[in-house]
Amino acid sequence: MRLNLVSAWRATLRGKVPLLPSHLIVAVPPTLYLLILFVIPLLFLLSVSFLRQEAGLIVNELTFENYRKLLTDRFYVRIIYRTLLMSLFVATAVTTLSYPVAYFLTRTRSRWKPLLLGLALAPELSGVVLRTYGWLVILEPDGLLNGLLMRTGFVKTPIRLVHNYVGVAIGLSHVLLTFGIFTVMASLQGVDPMLELAAQNLGANRWRTFMHVTLPLSLPGVVGSFFLTFAVAAGAYATPAILGGKTVEVLSTFIYSQLLYILNWPLASAASVILVLMVVGTLLLLNRLGGRRSFVL
């Protein structure tokens, strides 16, 4: 073994054999980029999460107190639980809503297809904050939706749709819908329409064709859309902050307040680590449930 390595090294120096295979050489710059700008800061975050804060100052003493607090104190467990629940809800809503739109956009042969694609992409032209404030105007007690419901007699008093999790879920679902649509579309475009035609020729009606041919083949896109929207929803800050106000607390808003005005950086770091683990854990679970199929991201 040692002789082989020495011979290989000598051959490399003489330029006869590349130091690394070419596919690995190409991977070096992004790997370094991720290492320096992601892995190392994450490790720093992890190290700070084991310190403690006292009277506004960080004390360099190792402790598990932050994790113990976050995972056993009912108040913090509720924040983690609600973040998870809200993200799962938004991911399910986005995936469910985006599938029919993606299917239509993939299969349509209308000459308006480019325009329709543009309309699907149009929300991304304005920023998240702008769109979220738009939802605030629509959903607030004196807003458009409540005004319409009250004028038509559906309700007598305004329904509370902002400064709660309902408003946050509505806002996030809209903000992430475009991601869902295009992720599912990428998968649907790989489903050969001839297969659907073949199923129908063999006697399957449209519903059976969809359930037994189209949906299974597009499942990687569905799972990819679910995971992508889950990950983004779990870490979203602007929409929960604006539509939820300060009576709604998810992990991102909790981390923000701990970092920027409570100045409890160790606790914020521990919460950040838990958020990362939540997203990675979901990815691994989806991967396991999906078997050997890779999913589209």
Partner: protein
């Protein structure tokens, strides 16, 4: 051979000169630019026309203005960067000024560096600490809609009045207004700033009466502009600004009194243009600029020798006597206890 040696020496010399020039250009040499972090939103135009542009003209320098971040967010950045946030001067409040000084993140602003400090009354200077220069004074006023709240309120208890349920804005704990409101709730119920339990007992019912709980003072503006909110605690300076804009709002100090806010100018230890920063602070504290600033931003001042209209003096803190009438918080105590209070506040506010 000799020619090759000359060529090599010449290449090395040119390389050294280029590298040294780059080093000088990046920051070792003094700059004629000043980076200032202060008020954003609508207030940015006021500070630029009143303070920034006259300073640029007088000193022939360029000021790069950054209007982002609250005082606590700015302080978090100063801490994160160990005193080198990229600004030369930053506007904060007394708690951040005191804690920042204690942590060694801010430069001292004595009379040797800022001569106009000698005109700031001693109690205000003490509140800001050795690293702060007090450019304005404000207090927490009760800001109310004059059409909807009739007659005008006389007590802070109006914020808890069920008659105004869903019409009250409550500041979040990230805004020092929330801390002051907690203090007032304690004072009204037999406590004080060191015994806040009577105040804490009032916070759940305040939350139930609230239209919204909002952190940033500027985020509260759309609510009272659209007359969704009729009552809120608000800084007298900004309250007066919106009153002057023609909104049907007014501000007052209820019978239980109010609490002072000391705003400060600070210079982080990592500031690149320190001499210019001290000049800027000194300029802002000059008599002419203090008079202009007080009237333009409708705030009080801690400078003793100003000529201001009587009406302005009546509504804002411009004298030591007025300073002493208001409740004076222990700013360092606030800075130290804030994270503990924030956690308790969150446990009540979060549904």
């Amino acid at each position: 051979m000799r020619w090759k040696v000359i060529q090599r020496v010449w290449s090395v010399a040119v390389t050294v000169v280029i590298l040294w020039s780059s080093y000088l250009a990046t920051g070792a040499a003094p700059s004629r630019e000043l980076v200032v972090n202060a008020y954003g939103g609508e207030y940015e135009a006021i500070i630029k026309s009143t303070i920034i542009e006259p300073f640029e003209r007088k000193y022939g320098v360029r000021v790069i203005y950054d209007g982002t971040g609250s005082a606590s967010a700015d302080f978090a950045r100063i801490r994160a960067t160990r005193g080198d946030p990229g600004w030369d001067v930053v506007v904060m409040t007394a708690p951040e000024s005191l804690l920042g000084c204690q942590l060694g993140l801010l430069e001292r602003l004595g009379e040797d560096r800022v001569p106009n400090q000698r005109f700031i009354f001693h109690e205000a200077r003490k509140a800001a600490g050795p690293c702060g220069a007090v450019q304005e004074l404000q207090y927490m006023s009760l800001f109310y809609n004059t059409k909807r709240v009739v007659p005008p309120p006389t007590s802070w208890r109006v914020l808890w009045d069920p008659k105004y349920k869903g019409r009250v804005i409550v500041p979040d704990i990230g805004n020092i207004l929330a801390v002051y409101l907690l203090f007032m709730a304690a004072y009204m119920n037999g406590g004080d700033q060191y015994n806040l339990d009577p105040g804490w007992a009032q916070i759940p019912s305040l939350r139930d009466n609230a239209l919204a709980v909002i952190e940033s003072s500027s985020d509260m503006v759309p609510y009272f502009e659209r007359e969704q909110a009729w009552l809120l605690p608000y800084w007298d300076g900004r309250a007066h600004y919106y009153k002057n804009k023609g909104l049907p709002m007014d501000f007052l100090i209820p019978k239980e009194g109010s609490i002072l806010l000391v705003n400060t100018l600070n210079v982080p230890i990592g500031a690149k243009s320190k001499d210019l920063a001290y000049e800027f602070v000194n300029f802002w504290l000059s008599r002419e600029m203090q008079e202009k600033w007080a009237l333009a931003y409708t705030v009080g001042t801690a400078r003793v020798d100003l000529k201001l209209p009587d009406e302005h003096r009546r509504r804002h803190v411009t004298s030591l006597e007025q300073f002493k009438v208001l409740k004076f918080p222990d700013f360092l105590y606030i800075a130290q206890k804030r994270s503990e209070w924030a956690e308790r506040w969150k446990r009540i506010m979060v549904r």
